[in-house]
C-alpha cells in the first residue's frame, strides 16, 4: 500500500505461489501476534474496563473501583460534545482539503511524469521529505509564518477578510490548515501508488469514443483510482481525528479549538480521571471502527495492508 512507495521497490506484482505452511508458519507469526496481543489488544480491553469504573469510596484522587458504570459514556458525551464535533469536523474538512490538494499532484507525478522516472523519483522524495523533519517544528514554523504580525495576517486585514482586531492563529481555520498540511503526504502516497498503475490506454479509448476530458475523468480515472482514495482518506482521517497537537494552544490552536485528544490527555495526565479519559478513548475508537468497517466491507483488508 502507501508505504511501499517509501522505497520498497517496484509496485507489488503478486507472483508468489502459496505453500501450505506447517510449524514454520507458527515460528514466523507467533512472536509478532503474541506481541500485538499483549501490547495492542490488552491495552484496548483495559481501556474498556477502566471506562466502566467509578470513583473509589475513599475519595482518594486517582483511585477507582470497577463497577460497570456505563454512565461514564453519557457523561463524556454530554461534557465533551463540542470537542467530539470539532474533532470529526476538523478531520472531515482537513481530509477533503488534503484530497483536493493531493489528487492533482499525485496524478501529475504518477501519470504525467511516467516518461521521466528520474524527475518522478525526485518529486516523490520531496513529497515524503516532511517525514524526515520533526512535525512539531514544522507546525511551529507555520505558527510563526502566519503569526499575528506576519505579512499573511496583514494581507487578510487589508483585504477585509479578517476584522482588524482578529487574527489567524488560534482559529478553527488555522487548525484545519495545519492538519491539512501535516497529513498531505499520507494522502498523496496511496494516491500515487494507485495512479502510477493506471492504464492510460483506457483514457485514450474513452477520448477516441468522443468523451470530453471531464467525462473521461468522471467515468474512467476517478472510478479506477477509488482504492487509492479510500486508503488515502483512511490514512488521513483517522490520525487527524485523534490528533491534538495542531489544535494545542502552543501550536496553531487556542482554548477554543480543543479536540478529543486534548481532553483525553488532560483527563489522563493532569486530572488523573482515568475512567473519563478511557470512556472518551473508547468512544473515539468505536466511531472510527464503524467508519473503517464500512470501508473494509467495500475494499477488503488484503487491499488495505
Amino acid at each position: 500500500m502507501a508505504f511501499a512507495a517509501f522505497g520498497g521497490g517496484a509496485p507489488a506484482k503478486d507472483n508468489s505461489t502459496k505453500r501450505k505452511g506447517g510449524p514454520i508458519v507458527l515460528v514466523l507469526i507467533l512472536p509478532g501476534l503474541i506481541y500485538l496481543g499483549l501490547f495492542f489488544m490488552t491495552p484496548l480491553l483495559s481501556l474498556l474496563v477502566t471506562a466502566l469504573e467509578s470513583p473509589d469510596p475513599s475519595g482518594a484522587i486517582g483511585a477507582y473501583l470497577y463497577d460497570l458504570n456505563f454512565g461514564n459514556f453519557a457523561t463524556v458525551v454530554t461534557q465533551y460534545m463540542p470537542q467530539i464535533i470539532r474533532s470529526f469536523g476538523y478531520a472531515f474538512a482537513a481530509t477533503v482539503f488534503a484530497l483536493a490538494i493531493s489528487y492533482p499532484l499525485a496524478y501529475f507525478i504518477g501519470v504525467k511524469l511516467r516518461g521521466s522516472p528520474l524527475i518522478q523519483r525526485l518529486l516523490l522524495t520531496l513529497v515524503i521529505a516532511p517525514f524526515f523533519i520533526s512535525f512539531l517544528l514544522r507546525t511551529i514554523a507555520w505558527k510563526q509564518l502566519l503569526s499575528d504580525n506576519s505579512g499573511f495576517v496583514a494581507l487578510l486585514h487589508n483585504l477585509h477578510i479578517l476584522a482588524p482586531t482578529s487574527y489567524f492563529i488560534g482559529t478553527d481555520a488555522a487548525v484545519i490548515f495545519g492538519l491539512t498540511y501535516n497529513f498531505i503526504p499520507f494522502m498523496t502516497l496511496p494516491l500515487f501508488t494507485n495512479l502510477e498503475r493506471l492504464d492510460i490506454r483506457f483514457l485514450e479509448a474513452a477520448s477516441d469514443l468522443y468523451a470530453n476530458p471531464r467525462k473521461v475523468f468522471r467515468k474512467i480515472t476517478l472510478p479506477l483510482s477509488m482504492p487509492g482514495i479510500i486508503s488515502g482518506t483512511l490514512l488521513t482521517f483517522i490520525p487527524i481525528a485523534g490528533d491534538y497537537v495542531n489544535a494545542s494552544r502552543d501550536f496553531l490552536g487556542s482554548s477554543k479549538t480543543s479536540m478529543i485528544g486534548t481532553m483525553v490527555e488532560a483527563d489522563f495526565l493532569q486530572n488523573w480521571n482515568y475512567p473519563s479519559a478511557s470512556a472518551l478513548s473508547v468512544l473515539l475508537m468505536a466511531l472510527i471502527l464503524i467508519m473503517v468497517t464500512f470501508y473494509v466491507r467495500r475494499s477488503g483488508t488484503e487491499d488495505l495492508l
Binding site: 511501499a4 517509501f6 522505497g7 520498497g8 521497490g9 517496484a10 508468489s16 502459496k18 505453500r19 501450505k20 505452511g21 514454520i24 514466523l28 507469526i29 512472536p31 509478532g32 506481541y35 501490547f39 495492542f40 489488544m41 491495552p43 484496548l44 481501556l47 492533482p104 496524478y107 501529475f108 504525467k112 522516472p117 523519483r121 518529486l123 522524495t125 520531496l126 515524503i128 521529505a129 524526515f132 523533519i133 520533526s134 512539531l136 517544528l137 514544522r138 514554523a141 498540511y181 503526504p185 483512511l234 490520525p239 485523534g242 490528533d243 502552543d250 483525553v264 490527555e265 489522563f268 495526565l269 478511557s278 478513548s281 473515539l284 475508537m285 473503517v292 483488508t301 488495505l304 495492508l305
Partner: protein, 266 residues
C-alpha cells in the same frame, strides 16, 4: 489552441506550487537553525553558525536526542525482526489464521495515537510498571510493527519463488536457502522498513508522551519547550537529521538508477 497550452502548463505549475507549500516550513526550520538568537527563536536576528558549532551547549536538547536515538534503534531492531517474519508468512504461506493476522496488523494503523497511548499507559499503570525508557520502547515496537510488515510485504511479493526452488534443487537445505537467497533478495525491503520504522519512532510524540514518565525524547522536548519558545539548537538537530535522511534516500535512489541502467545495457 490557447486553452490547450494552458492545460498543459496548469499541472506542472500546480505541482511546483504544491511543492513550495510542502517545503516552506522545512526551509524555515533549517533557516532558523542559523538564527543569531539567544532566548526565543521567533524573530530573525542575523546569521550565525554558533548553534551548529555548540549544539550540546544546550545539554537538555542533546540528552533528549540521545534518548530518541537509543529508543529508535532498539525499537527498530525488534519491529523489523518481528515484522519481516510476519510479512514472509503472509505472502508465502496459506494458513487458517491469515485474515486474523491481517486484521490484527491493520488495526493498530487504524487506531488513533491517543487511544494507543492512553491504552498502554493504563495497562502499565494497572500492572504497576513505572513509565520510562522500557515502556516507550514497548510502545514504539507495537506501532512500528505494522508499517514494517506493509513495507517488507511489498518486497516479498516481487520475489521470484523459482530462485529459492533452484537453490533447493542444488541441495541447499532450507536454512541455507533462507540465508543465501531469500534474505539477500529481501534486504532492500527490510532496509527501507527499518528506515521507516526509525523515522516513525524518532518523530513520535503522542504515544510517547503518555508512556514516558520523566524521560524526555526529542519531540517531547519540543512540545514542552513550545510554550516558552524552542531554542535554535533543536532546529540544528532537526535540520541535521533531515539532511542525513534525504542524503540516504537520494543515494539509494541514484544507486538503484545506476544498477537499472547497467542491467538495461547488458
Amino acid at each position: 489552441m490557447k486553452k490547450l497550452s494552458f492545460g498543459k502548463l496548469a499541472l506542472p505549475i500546480y505541482a511546483v506550487l504544491a511543492m513550495v507549500f510542502l517545503l516552506t516550513p522545512i526551509a524555515y526550520t533549517i533557516m532558523f537553525s542559523f538564527n543569531d538568537s539567544t532566548r526565543s527563536n521567533t524573530v530573525w536576528e542575523g546569521f550565525t553558525l554558533r548553534h551548529w558549532a555548540q549544539v550540546c551547549n544546550r545539554q537538555d536538547v542533546c540528552d533528549a536526542v540521545t534518548n530518541s536515538i537509543v529508543i529508535g534503534v532498539i525499537s527498530t531492531i525488534f519491529a523489523t525482526i518481528l515484522g519481516t517474519a510476519l510479512a514472509i508468512a503472509l505472502v508465502r504461506y496459506s494458513f487458517r489464521a491469515r485474515s486474523l493476522v491481517s486484521l490484527s496488523l491493520f488495526l493498530p494503523m487504524a487506531t488513533p495515537e491517543v487511544v494507543l497511548g492512553a491504552g498502554l499507559a493504563g495497562l502499565f499503570f494497572n500492572a504497576g510498571v513505572g513509565a520510562g525508557m522500557t515502556t516507550i520502547i514497548i510502545a514504539h515496537v507495537m506501532f512500528c510493527l505494522s508499517f514494517v510488515v506493509v513495507t517488507v510485504k511489498a518486497r516479498v511479493q516481487t520475489l521470484d519463488p523459482t530462485l529459492e526452488e533452484a537453490g533447493a534443487d542444488l541441495y541447499a537445505n532450507p536454512r541455507q536457502v533462507f540465508r543465501k537467497i531469500t534474505l539477500p533478495l529481501l534486504m532492500p525491503g527490510i532496509i527501507s522498513a527499518a528506515l521507516l520504522s526509525f523515522a516513525l519512532s524518532f518523530d513520535d510524540f503522542i504515544i510517547t508522551y503518555f508512556n514516558s514518565g520523566s524521560v524526555t525524547t526529542f519531540p517531547k522536548y519540543i512540545y514542552v519547550a513550545a510554550a516558552r519558545g524552542v531554542p535554535a539548537e533543536a532546529n540544528v538537530i532537526a535540520s541535521a537529521v533531515f539532511m542525513l535522511a534525504i542524503f540516504i534516500v537520494l543515494a539509494t535512489q541514484i544507486r538503484g538508477a545506476i544498477k537499472r541502467s547497467k542491467l538495461a545495457k547488458s
